[in-house]
């Protein structure tokens, strides 16, 4: 069991979709939202996922395929 903290950024067409709920239903991961900012045009959500590493990896891959941008909580770590 591990925990992973990530930031989801939603494009306009996904803002009204229950992506995080669906992810929790389809994969055996616990989603824990800590901070978010959602407007009509776009949104981001900072959350923690708990579960087995492979399951978290699959869940995040699914979210990416839905059109969600998934980033580490820290933003870009790779610097100039």
């Amino acid at each position: 069991m591990i925990k992973r903290r990530v930031k989801f950024t939603f494009p306009p067409d996904l803002v009204t979709q229950p992506v995080i709920y669906s992810m929790g239903k389809q994969f055996n991961v616990v989603t824990n939202i800590r901070r978010a900012n959602v407007t009509r045009e776009r949104g981001w959500v900072v959350l923690e996922l708990s579960g087995e590493e492979d399951e978290i990896t699959r869940a995040l891959e699914w979210a990416r395929n839905q059109g969600v941008r998934v980033d580490p909580l820290e933003g870009d770590i790779l610097a100039g």
């Binding site: 800590r34 407007t39 820290e74 933003g75 870009d76 770590i77 790779l78 610097a79």
Partner: protein
């Protein structure tokens, strides 16, 4: 009493003890070093700073480093130059250049890494790590070598070998990660969570980033403890931008400097300008972008401090502008040909941004403006390939030389 009160969350304000953590346990907001300015005020004066070493450690009382044992790579205390020639070329009367090309590894990154290396020792880490495509790698490798820490550097596997040579000489472990830019970020985030290392832009980031405040302290001290009216600062993650602002504000709060709160101008390359795009759209929401620019040292598509930088631009009455790759090259040449300073592409960005603002009448020609030049041009020579005049080739005769002289370029600067 300690000068550092702890780490405070920039979102919810919760205070944590000063340990190697970077995220608020409650809201996952970023943490920042919090100080007791009464304690600092009692310890520091213009005279005590002036009596300090000619490095960033003259400001130790304003930095989150405890104890007297310091690993000193002699970063900082770089020249602030009155750029009369550049100012004349831009139609501005009081332009200054903060020349941070002359740091030990030739970029401003030596400043934050100096703090990170000392905190790594304080916290008992044996390894200092970063993910970098250039400047940060060199700074971490050098500071690690000096501090007796093991430097570990992550790079994308497709990075040109020349980019990492300037870091490899210090003997770090260099790990080339196969995969995309996003893959490197994700892996490093996971490594940062898993290994007990001082990862400079992860778990020791709150301390690391404080080192950039010294770029504000030095400018004010070098101007006779006066703050400038306006500063032009490049934005990659936005960390430097927010810390320059914090630095000026601290000096004013402590009464060490007098003058205005500087207008903060954010400078980015058009090919990686998420902060400028948000500024133009009048929003604080930064949309991540995929970088496509020659300014590799600023190529951060998802800037951690983008939101905070935008707030500062608003609060300071500042501005934001982006410049094309061609304008960056022209900026590098303009600075070199007016002031004799060879900047890397990030310096081309700040100079070109000031030029653009001056031409558009977005700066007062009489105000005091400081342009930050954060890295040395020898690091990005490839950006100038095919952009400079070829040597004038002549046979070994006086007449050929005299004919060639008539074709040689005239100086841009000078009196």
């Amino acid at each position: 009493m300690s000068r550092v009160t702890g780490l405070s969350c920039r979102e919810c304000g919760t205070l944590f003890s000063a340990t190697p953590i970077h995220v608020c346990e409650l809201c996952f907001g970023p943490l920042e070093v919090s100080y007791d300015y009464e304690v600092i005020g009692a310890q520091v004066s213009r005279a005590s700073i002036a009596a300090g070493p000619p490095s960033l450690w003259r400001y130790k009382a304003l930095l989150p480093v405890e104890g007297d044992r310091l690993v000193d790579t002699h970063a900082g205390w770089t020249p602030l130059i009155r750029a009369e020639n550049l100012g004349r070329a831009l139609g501005l009367r009081d332009v200054w250049v903060k020349n941070d090309t002359v740091n030990p590894t030739f970029s401003f990154k030596d400043r934050p890494v100096s703090i990170a290396a000392n905190k790594a020792l304080e916290f008992g880490f044996d390894t200092i790590a970063c993910a970098s495509t250039g400047n940060l790698a060199g700074a971490v490798a050098a500071a690690g070598a000096k501090a007796g820490l093991r430097p570990v550097i992550f790079i994308p596997a497709d990075l040109e070998p020349s980019k990492i040579g300037a870091a490899s000489v210090y003997g770090p472990t260099v790990v080339a990660v196969d995969g995309t830019y996003d893959d490197v970020n994700r892996l490093c985030s996971e490594i940062g969570d898993t290994y007990s290392w001082a990862f400079v832009n992860i778990n020791v980031r709150p301390y690391y980033s404080e080192g950039s405040k010294t770029l504000a302290y030095e400018v004010a001290e070098q101007l006779g403890w006066q703050t400038p009216d306006r500063v032009v600062v490049p934005i990659a993650s936005g960390s430097l931008f927010t810390k320059v602002w914090k630095g000026f504000n601290e000096l004013l709060k402590l009464g060490l400097a007098t003058g205005p709160r500087p207008k903060m101008v954010a400078a980015q390359a058009e090919g990686c300008s998420p902060v400028v795009q948000a500024y133009r759209a009048r929003t604080l929401n930064v949309q991540p972008v995929r970088p496509r620019t020659i300014a590799k040292s600023l190529a951060i598509g998802n800037p951690a401090d983008g939101y905070y930088s935008l707030k500062i631009i608003r609060e300071s009455g500042g501005d934001a502008e982006a410049v094309s790759d061609a304008e960056i090259i022209e900026g590098i040449k303009l600075l070199a040909r007016t002031e004799g300073i060879f900047a890397e592409t990030a310096g081309g960005v700040t100079v070109a941004t000031l030029k653009k603002l001056a031409e558009a009448g977005r700066v007062d020609p009489d105000e005091r403006i400081v342009v930050y030049v954060t890295g040395n041009g020898l690091k990005t020579l490839e950006a100038l390939a095919g952009q400079l005049a070829e040597p004038i080739r002549i046979p070994p005769s006086m007449s050929a030389f005299e004919a060639a002289l008539t074709r040689s370029p005239q100086p841009v600067g000078g009196r």
